[in-house]
């Protein structure tokens, strides 16, 4: 498995032909008012942009999405979690999971030294074994981006910065955009923004969408990950609506959580987001990635997420360009399990470096 750049789509992935408006209409979730479509013309993208022009249309669209039955979604996730991944399939999954890690430190106490250590770990997760691939990215606060960029200059590891008044997102749009520009100017390859959950929960969907669009513009060439903070959205219906808002706004990735709110990522939440991503791809041809973050500490859990990816959106998403784990302690467990698969013996926790 070659280690591809995190920001390019693998060459074997070919975007499908753009869907015709007719097909898009047909596939449009039920409840999307036909008059909306009559007003739009041309591509699906234009049609979606049209939604953003009116708060009423946006609400009608989001509330017309098929509902999510909580019991059913949780049962499906639990059933997929019983898949038993062994031997060669496990080894493949462990190496893929390593390549999908956004190695993260998001503490008030972060220092250049801590970030340098993280970067070294990201580049060579196991110095004793050169066959271990690098992780996808490091994920840090914006002010430490220059440190990480220098440390990772000649590597495939991307630098992701959390911005937009992370984690609460409670600041004016001007401040949020300044935060983003600052990170991008410093060289961030990826920006992890938070949506305004207050606006979302009070029904001001237009505001949420506008912020995502504005941040996307401020990102320039940097990839945008939109954090929904699903632990604060409470219902799966909300998770699906917020996923669509982020995708319509131009997200390259939708991300579960900041890691600062409990619960963070869960299997059913990931399932619902992956279903949204799959439906959005059917609708527009755009393949939006998914990042699960927070609380994923061991290889066993990581593999459960990969199974859900595999059986929900399919293997086109099984690469770092389309799926990520935001985690800090997960990496060492992946390394330990990988070494167990290869050598038959478990390593001790001190056989791997802290990050």
């Amino acid at each position: 498995m070659k280690n591809e750049s995190t920001t390019t789509v693998p060459s074997d992935v070919v975007a499908p032909d753009g869907l015709s408006l007719e097909k898009a209409r047909h596939q449009m979730p039920i409840g999307l008012n036909a008059s909306t479509l009559v007003g739009a013309s041309g591509s699906t993208a234009e049609m979606l942009a049209y939604l953003g022009r009116s708060e009423t249309e946006l609400r009608r669209f989001l509330h017309g999405l098929p509902g999510v039955d909580q019991v059913g979604a949780e049962a499906r996730a639990a059933s997929l979690a019983t898949r038993s991944i062994k031997a060669s399939a496990k080894l493949w999954a462990l190496e893929m999971a390593v390549r999908m890690v956004d190695l993260t430190t998001l503490e008030g106490a972060d220092t250049p030294g801590k970030v340098l250590s993280l970067c070294a770990k990201a580049r060579r997760p196991d110095p004793a074994d050169p066959t271990v691939p690098s992780v996808a990215a490091v994920c840090i606060y914006p002010d430490l981006v220059p440190v990480a960029k220098r440390a990772l200059a000649d590597s495939s590891v991307a630098v992701a910065a959390v911005a937009t008044a992370f984690p609460s997102g409670r600041a004016s749009l001007a401040v949020k955009l300044a935060d983003v520009r600052d990170a991008v100017m410093a060289g961030a390859d990826e920006v992890d923004m938070v949506i305004d959950r207050g606006a979302f929960l009070s029904g001001r969907y237009g505001l949420v969408l506008e912020e995502v669009q504005a941040v996307k513009e401020a990102c320039g060439r940097a990839h945008l990950k939109v954090i929904l903070e699903t632990g604060e959205l409470d219902t799966y219906d909300n998770v699906r609506r917020a996923s669509y808002l982020a995708m319509i706004g131009g997200a390259d990735f939708i991300k579960t959580s900041t890691g600062k709110v409990s619960p963070s990522a869960t299997l059913p939440v990931a399932l619902v987001m992956l279903e949204a991503v799959r439906d959005f791809a059917d609708l527009t041809g755009a393949r939006v990635g998914v990042k699960v973050a927070g609380g994923i500490r061991n290889a066993k859990d990581a593999i459960k997420y990969l199974v859900i990816v595999n059986e929900t959106v399919g293997e086109i998403w099984l690469n770092p360009a389309h799926f990520r784990f935001g985690a800090s302690s997960l990496l060492n467990d992946l390394l330990m399990q990988r070494s167990k698969q290869l050598t038959g013996v478990y390593a001790g926790s001190n056989d791997y470096s802290m990050s």
């Binding site: 047909h26 898949r83 038993s84 060669s88 595999n310």
Partner: protein, 490 residues
């Protein structure tokens, strides 16, 4: 015989799951089994035996004694003695202790039971492990709780047991059906003669070993293996039987009712079905797709309450079928002992033949047949997950029970039409309704002539919930307080 492998129903994948086999060594399968009569395993009186095989490989698993009418006499007499002398007079609190003990041993030996069930029946280990065995234990636990509370079950003070129950069960859920039959009968103070299906005797015989291990008094439970036409027929006709409980085909159910007319024997029947799984345009779609898959492909569709008719609102029919087809590409078909198998083997050659002929009939009648690209094992009895579209109410595949992994898709326009089509069947066992509108669920539940109506779910079972049918799906309820009534003189 080589073990079959499990593959996903789609083209070669980058990440294919490696085999994850449950060990068959966890269970000790004897080379031959006798009849369980009066607390001991004995040979058939005339020495007759037959072979039971693994439907996934056609490999012979064991020699099984075939009970003769003389064996039925012995078993019924033993049950009658035990009922009068021990089990009937025993205080409910004491009967409860035995039932709790059986429940706990079933849990302790769950892995053995699951492997045995998958080997003999062909169902995936994921289902025997996560559904059949836990539900069997749950039924014993649930009815153990009733044994000393019969006075409060709503049948008046001090309700009496019926006596000896003759119980004939099918091959689709061999252990679970045994538990559904034995637990309420024993809790109410009856004794039992159980006749498992001829193709799936092993888990019932393992349960008999568990009953021995639990020190149940001899004769309280007897297990007679053999042909339905010999042992089954002799059992239900036996004058020492006070109650007949049968789960199986409608055809045999009708014969039974004719045979029992005028005998004074109590009878409950749980027969066939052709359930409608009704999907409205406001349904939670992704969960509805799972419900459709679970409805018809759970246990290879060999389920009397299977959602074999998908009734989908015409406005979303294309979308639902498209989503369903994509989902079926992720089903994994093959070795029942592989923990990642979703669809196992068809239980027996005769059933496979019946499924094939009805599916061929569907094509001949003009419905459009579709299956995902499935690689089926070379040996054993296999049928791919199959969807028929363009099915009309008049087609045989919309009317007859196929009892296999074959879904017929029909459409409707209005709730009234959905109800009319759902009820337009000789059966009435179960139905599913998928909508986000609560009031419509309640209205539909009142309109549908089916013993069970699942709302935004399908094939969910619980010992506290009564299960049973209308019309040619039978009568009587199993599970819940109502399930006790079938074994009490009320």
């Amino acid at each position: 015989m080589p073990a079959p492998t499990t593959t996903a129903c789609r083209d070669k994948m980058t990440w294919d799951y490696a085999p994850a086999l449950e060990s068959r060594a966890v269970v000790d399968i004897h080379s031959s089994y006798g009849l369980f009569i009066d607390g001991a395993f004995v040979e058939a009186s005339d020495g007759n035996a037959y072979k039971t095989e693994n439907p996934a490989t056609e490999e012979v698993l064991a020699d099984i004694a075939a009970a003769s009418p003389a064996d039925v006499d012995r078993a019924v007499e033993a049950a009658g003695r035990a009922q009068k002398s021990v089990w009937g007079p025993m205080p409910g609190t004491e009967r409860a202790k035995y039932l709790y003990r059986i429940a706990r041993i079933v849990q302790e030996r769950s892995r053995e039971l699951a492997v045995m069930e998958s080997l003999d029946n062909g169902k995936p280990i994921r289902e025997s492990r996560d559904v059949d065995v836990p539900l069997a234990a749950a039924h014993f636990f649930y009815y153990a709780g009733w044994a000393d509370k019969l006075d409060y079950a709503g049948f008046g003070p001090d309700p009496r047991p019926l006596g000896v129950a003759g119980q004939v069960i099918p091959w689709n859920f061999p252990l679970m059906m045994a538990a559904w039959k034995l637990a309420p009968a024993l809790a109410a103070g009856n004794t039992c003669v159980l006749k498992p299906a001829s193709t799936t005797p092993l888990s019932a015989l393992l349960l008999a070993e568990i009953i021995q291990q639990a020190d149940l008094p001899p004769g309280v439970v007897n297990v007679l293996t053999g042909a339905g036409s010999v042992a089954g027929a002799a059992l239900v006709a036996h004058p020492g039987i006070d109650k007949v409980a049968f789960t199986g085909s409608t055809e045999i159910g009708k014969d039974l009712q004719r045979a029992l007319a005028g005998t004074g024997k109590h009878l409950t029947l749980e027969l066939g079905g052709k359930a409608a799984n009704i999907v409205f345009d406001d349904a939670p779609l992704d969960q509805a797709i799972e419900g459709i898959v679970n409805g018809i492909f759970f246990n290879q569709g060999e389920v009397c309450c299977a959602g074999s008719r998908l009734l989908v609102q015409e406005s979303i029919a294309d979308l639902v079928v498209e989503k369903l087809k994509r989902r079926l590409g992720t089903l994994r078909v093959g070795d029942p002992l592989d923990k990642n198998t979703d669809l196992g083997a068809i239980n027996n050659a005769a059933q496979l033949e019946k499924i094939r002929s009805l599916a061929d009939e569907g094509e001949a009648e003009g419905a459009v047949r579709w299956s995902p690209p499935c690689e089926l094992p070379a040996h054993g009895y296999w049928f791919p997950p199959t969807v028929f579209t363009g099915v009309s109410q008049a087609h045989r595949i919309a009317q007859e029970e196929i009892f296999g992994p074959v879904l017929s898709v029909l459409t409707f326009r209005t709730p009234e039409e959905a109800v009319a089509k759902a009820n337009n069947t000789i059966y009435g066992l179960s139905a599913g309704v998928w909508t986000e509108k609560g009031s419509r669920i309640l209205w539909m539940a009142g309109q549908l002539r089916a013993g069970v109506v699942w709302a935004n779910s399908f094939n969910r079972f619980d010992p506290t919930s009564p299960f049973g049918g209308y019309r040619e799906s039978g009568f009587g309820r199993e599970g819940g307080r109502q399930g006790l009534g079938a074994y009490l003189d009320v």
